[in-house]
Amino acid sequence: MAEAQAATDFRAGLREWLEANCPAEMRDGGAIENAICWGGKDWVFTSDAQKTWLERCAAKGYTVPTWPVEYGGAGLTREQEKIFHEEMGRIDARSPLQSFGIWMLGPALLHFGSHDQKLEYLPPIARGEVRWCQGYSEPGAGSDLANVQTHGADQGDYWLVNGQKIWTSYADKADQIFALVRTDRDAPKHKGISFLLIDMDDAGVETRPIKMISGISPFCETFFTDVKVAKDRIVGEENRGWDVAKYLLTHEREMISGGGGGLAGGGRALGAVLTDTLDQLDATLRADAMRCEIDALAIGLTLERYKDQAEAGQGAGDASAMLKYMGTELNKQRHELMMTAGGSAALEWDGDVGNRAGDWLRTKANSIEGGTSEVMLSIVSRRVLGLPA
């Protein structure tokens, strides 16, 4: 009962704070791409309200509510985090900050970093001062992520890094990159990789956006030419970067699966969204929309269940592969139906129904980035079902 009272008190206090501190302009849900605040030193706030909202949240640790207070978080429990998201949802508040630092580097540092590294890197992420991007994939490597050719030559105080990364999301806008670099060419494929932190302003770092079929360029190619990376700019041990990468992939998969709020969040039902443009759903569209809705709800509940399991100390194991697979395949289907419902209006770039086609095309990468659906199924097959490789 004391626990329940504490939760009620927390909710009341939070609600009061939100009422007082969340600017009215920030209460629109912000589901659209360009409402997102990504932070970073070059960030240009789209409004004063966006800046105020970020600062106020950062001061309370609410940009990273579950991180420890000393690293810029609010130290919320899982129970409190749920309440936090419920109360944010209640007033339709925008997320104050999103970034690869929050989703990926942060969790990696919290798990693998030294206390000093956490103190150095985490608070700037929480405050939205430094924007990170990831450097995993390399040209030609595709799903074989451990096939890292980018090389870090040991020069005593530093590594001299040469090579090329691809699919580096928003590398052209990031301040720093965390990258997989081969630091031992003689070791087995997975044993000679280190997880390095590199400043995008360093000499020898170049980046170039890749134009995608959706017409936008969320991804880049990034080139390293004789880049010097100091020996303390490493997460985890030397040549053990694959452990960090695997850990991070799990986070990435949960994020892509909809953990970022897309699916699980109390969004509108797909069927209802479809009727925004169509008076009536024909049998095919209605049947498909129902199936998608059922899957969306079940996947959303699974995300909650895994979080509850994690809190209860029951690891979800390789379940992130499952979530990633199911979430992204569903998302692709949803956007196919959105396109169908949009009819000819959805066939124009930035037509009467917005950038629906661009969003649709963007989803096609969901089941490729962060591990393809095929790789996810193989992971489940081997690690969960124990089928022979």
Partner: protein, 371 residues
Amino acid sequence: MSKLVLTEEESMLADMARGFLDGAAPVSAFRKMRDEGRTHDAKLWKQMAEMGWAGVLVPEDAGGSDMGFAAANVIAREMGKTLVVSPFLSTAVMAATALRQVSDARASDALAKIASGDVTYALAIDEGIKHDPEATMMEARADGNGFRLTGKKTFVVDGAMADRLLVLARTADGLTLFDIPSDRAGITRDKSNMIDARDAAKIDFENVEATGEDVLGQVHSAMTVLRPALQAGQAALAAEMAGLSAGAFEMTVGYLKERKQFGTEIGRFQALQHRAAHLWCETEVTASAILNAGRMLDDDPQNAELAVSLAKAKATSTATLAVQEGVQMHGGIGMTDAYDMGFYMKRARVSSEWLGDYSYHAERVAALRGF
């Protein structure tokens, strides 16, 4: 809202149930019953009653264990794994839930008898080929202080063996639910020859007398009592189907690891691996929907309908896939009566249909989600 993770008690309950059922009711026991044409095992049900399963939803003061809906789902899931035949769903889940909605001495007495395993129930609801309580045409004509029931019910699961029937009939201003013994004058039961080899019956009511005493809840207000019972049944049936999917899946994965073709285990073939992996993913998200339905029924029953229909719809599509893949991946042997996979397929089909099929629940989900 409670967490979407099994509590320690629920995990223990699952382990105990599994342990008991592996001994008392493995699939071979079902095969024996099927071969002998039996649809009820009185001794097994008495044992279940002693373990508190018959009274899982009966209040403690009526002799029940009162473990709640999520716990009932845990038991149903374990039963599903080995295709256990019992009056659990009709009696312990649905009839008990209906009776619990009524607070009178007679209901208390009936609940006590359910808990002790001394009475079994069946729900005589549907009249057409699809589940649709609102479409009830059967008439309960006012007659003196009571009623006269005339009409036909079909797909009355457990109806040939049950001691008592909950009968839905149309009265002057709506639907009324009657709780009557199945041997009352004017009732004729015609056992159906079901593909899952379980008890179901067509029941004919010819001017059957029912007193005011026989009405469960209020006259013209059947749904107040029946809806919670149906929801509890739908959730538990979804759980049973999840167990059934798990049982079929376990057989299938085992076969993939052991069966050799073209000189290697067929489980090495990537096409089969990916299909098996996809099926596992479906079973995982189905599990979440079922756990959620149990939690909602326990914590917020007034708002449980979405959770329940979600669970039944998803359990239906997953079980269908699980048995289809099970048969196909087994090849010819899976098609033989001597192998158990066919039992799973037939039970999956019957439970898909019972208490509302995929479409029925998908349409409920859509309506509750605003489209």
